[in-house]
């Protein structure tokens, strides 16, 4: 009879050996390149740090941050969101078509075009932002850091898709699409945090 104070078994049903097998099996099931996953999760941590930092700065300096947010160009940011979502869908379509042995080039070109469109809207947004608020303000610096860092990720993703396209879409397209969805996901966290929530 076990004591009520004794620690519960970590894997009561299967036992230690079986649990180890499950863990190994799970590791084997990671789709794609493990290194790309490490990169993605690592950059998720970096963006989480940036967004949490933004939240803390806003909490400490609420008036200035809300004022800064009210001066942001929301219309280009909405267009950027649509461009990235459509781009992500096209990238997924390209991967699906590749797996079915069909031509993935048109969907991939579409995904790259939408990604490029995102960067065009971003430049338009920055030209408005430069006119509207003072760069020296803490809000402006953190805004440029977060959105600029994300735009760099989009540009890197475009370069990867370009590489995949040059190699007849056979080279790591699924991994690159995974990275592309990561940039989508990050933007879907940045957009409400910076532009919507006051």
């Amino acid at each position: 009879m076990s004591s009520p104070l004794s620690a519960p078994a970590p894997f009561p049903a299967n036992g230690g050996q079986n649990a180890a097998e499950i863990t190994l099996a799970d590791q084997g099931d990671i789709p794609g390149n493990v290194m790309m996953w490490i990169f993605i999760i690592g950059d998720l941590l970096v963006f989480s740090g940036l967004l949490i930092g933004f939240g803390v700065m806003k909490l400490l300096n609420r008036e200035a941050f809300v004022e800064g947010q009210s001066m942001l160009a929301v219309a280009p940011a909405i267009l950027e969101t649509f461009a990235l979502i459509i781009s992500g869908w096209l990238a997924a379509t390209a991967v699906e078509r590749q797996q079915e042995g069909r031509r993935s080039a048109p969907a991939l070109i579409g995904a790259m075009a939408c990604g490029l469109l995102f960067l065009v809207f971003k430049i338009q947004e920055y030209t408005i932002s430069i006119e509207r608020f003072d760069y020296e303000a803490a809000f402006a610096q953190i805004y440029y850091l977060i959105t600029g860092f994300h735009a760099l990720h989009v540009a890197l993703g475009l370069a990867l898709f370009g590489l995949s396209f040059l190699k007849s879409q056979k080279h790591s397209l699924a991994d690159y699409a995974r990275y592309w969805h990561f940039t989508d996901l990050i933007w879907l966290m940045i957009f409400p945090t910076l532009y919507i929530i006051r």
Partner: protein, 83 residues
């Protein structure tokens, strides 16, 4: 050049390096972890700078993070010797 600009350029440079490192074999995972660790440290230092934390605090914080990376890397090497 101001501290925040240096931090931003370093962050961009490290991201480019991480991307290149992610094309290496899985045995180089420690390198990508290290680069990620450095990026997180830079983000935290950026906020320290923005909150006008004193330079000694920032140096102490950076040194602590670097020492932590060093210890983790050493542990990684030591555990890899028997494996």
């Amino acid at each position: 050049m101001r501290a925040i600009h240096i931090a931003a350029i370093t962050l961009l440079g490290l991201t480019g390096l991480s991307m290149i490192a992610s094309a290496l074999p899985a045995s180089a995972a420690a390198l990508v972890f290290g680069l990620t660790f450095a990026k997180v440290m830079i983000v935290l230092l950026v906020f320290a700078e923005m909150r006008h934390a004193g330079r000694p605090w920032q140096i102490a914080f950076g040194s602590f993070f670097t020492a932590l990376i060093g210890c983790l890397f050493l542990l990684h090497r030591l555990t890899g010797i028997g494996g």
